[in-house]
Amino acid sequence: MKIILTALVLITFSISIQVLPALAANKPPEKGEALPVINLPVPKNAEERNYLGLSGGDLFKIPQIKARAVIVELFSMYCPFCQKDAARVNELYRLIESNPLLKNKIKLIGIGLGNSPYEVEVFKKTYDIPFPLFPDKDFVIHKVCGEVRTPYYMVVKINEDGTHQIVHTQLGNYPGADPFLGVVLEASGLNREEKERL
């Protein structure tokens, strides 16, 4: 019986240490890594669905977005820096969308950490945000992203074979649309591809 009890103690201890990291990562996602598991609802709005190249279903993962690179802004409606940067991040979206060579290659989304759908909608309306925003009311994404401070920017490169990797991350320090687009092009390799094409 002692052996069984010892085995049980070991099993429960092992479950504990395996379950905890799955619920909460201890650090934010970093360059060179794959994204943590992030399930987002497929937008009900057809315009946003088209922007992301999603056809249907209930949930999607970021690498399913039809693009070569996806910029993910982890924000909070309650975060002063996110509020301050909102208009300049909108400029980034417009800069990409106004460039015929980039508009189908780079997409931009935001995830409101700890924000309800109502709160995300208030943020979207207040700052007239043109790209899709998703709520994370119960902090699920916040936890798998290592309870990162906001705003946190990730650039995710999506490869032709469907694999992906994070090629750039930064906490705050948003430098403005032009310099940030430069970072995105360089990190995702789109700059190099364009030069080779020419």
């Binding site: 429960t12 504990s16 909460a24 409606m77 309650y78 401070r149 906001t150």
Partner: protein
């Protein structure tokens, strides 16, 4: 039989520990860098309300960060009022609750409502803290001296001298219409407060 129960106890407590030991999540803005004091998880509510919905809201006069004194009674007949008590400056949940109300300014206006932010911190502390937030549009009041007197009058002063995280909605006649003494560890959802304002129409 005894061993079997012990085995079940070990298994259940092990699994529970995996869940319970996950701390409460709080999204923190980088605006505060490393300057927020981590309070840990506190007793959700540690006071007993001394007012109820339908009562006349107790009047008070408090100094504000901008210099002038603000009385609740000055809004009588003019505006609805929301009192937002938060426990302490430079702590994680409080530091993003009020910047969120900045984004919702238009909605407060739409409901003809003034927001009064109140803590038991002193004016210099509140000055530095709200500046770090990037400032807020509503009056920030200090219930520092006599310490926590207004919080105590409303029944939201905790045993350690800070206030609860509490929201009071007061109509233009000065009557309390909504009270939310919230779990101190969590931020109240914006939609709940706005739902209460909607009912004032």
């Amino acid at each position: 039989m005894k061993d079997k129960r012990l085995a079940q106890f070990i298994l259940i407590s092990g699994l529970l520990s995996a869940v319970v030991s996950v701390p409460l999540a709080r999204a923190v803005s980088d605006a505060y860098k490393g300057n927020l004091y981590q309070m840990g998880t506190l007793k959700p509510i540690d006071s007993v309300l001394r007012v109820k919905v339908g009562d006349r809201a107790p009047d008070f006069t408090l100094p504000s960060v901008s210099g002038e004194k603000v009385s609740l009674s000055q809004f009588l007949g003019k505006k609805n009022a929301v009192l937002s008590f938060v426990p302490a400056a430079w702590t994680p949940v409080c530091s993003d609750q009020w910047p969120g109300y900045n984004v919702a300014k238009d909605i407060f206006n739409q409901y003809d409502t003034i927001l009064l932010g109140i803590t038991v911190d002193n004016i210099p502390t509140l000055f530095a803290w709200t500046n770090q937030m990037g400032q807020v549009w509503f009056p920030v009041l200090s219930d520092f001296w006599p310490h926590g007197a207004v919080a105590k009058r409303y029944g939201v002063l905790r045993s350690n001298g800070v206030s609860e995280r509490a929201l009071f909605v007061i109509d233009k006649k000065g009557i309390l219409r909504y009270i939310d003494v919230h779990d101190i560890n969590k931020r109240p959802a914006l939609e709940d407060l706005m739902g209460a304002l909607e009912k004032l129409k």
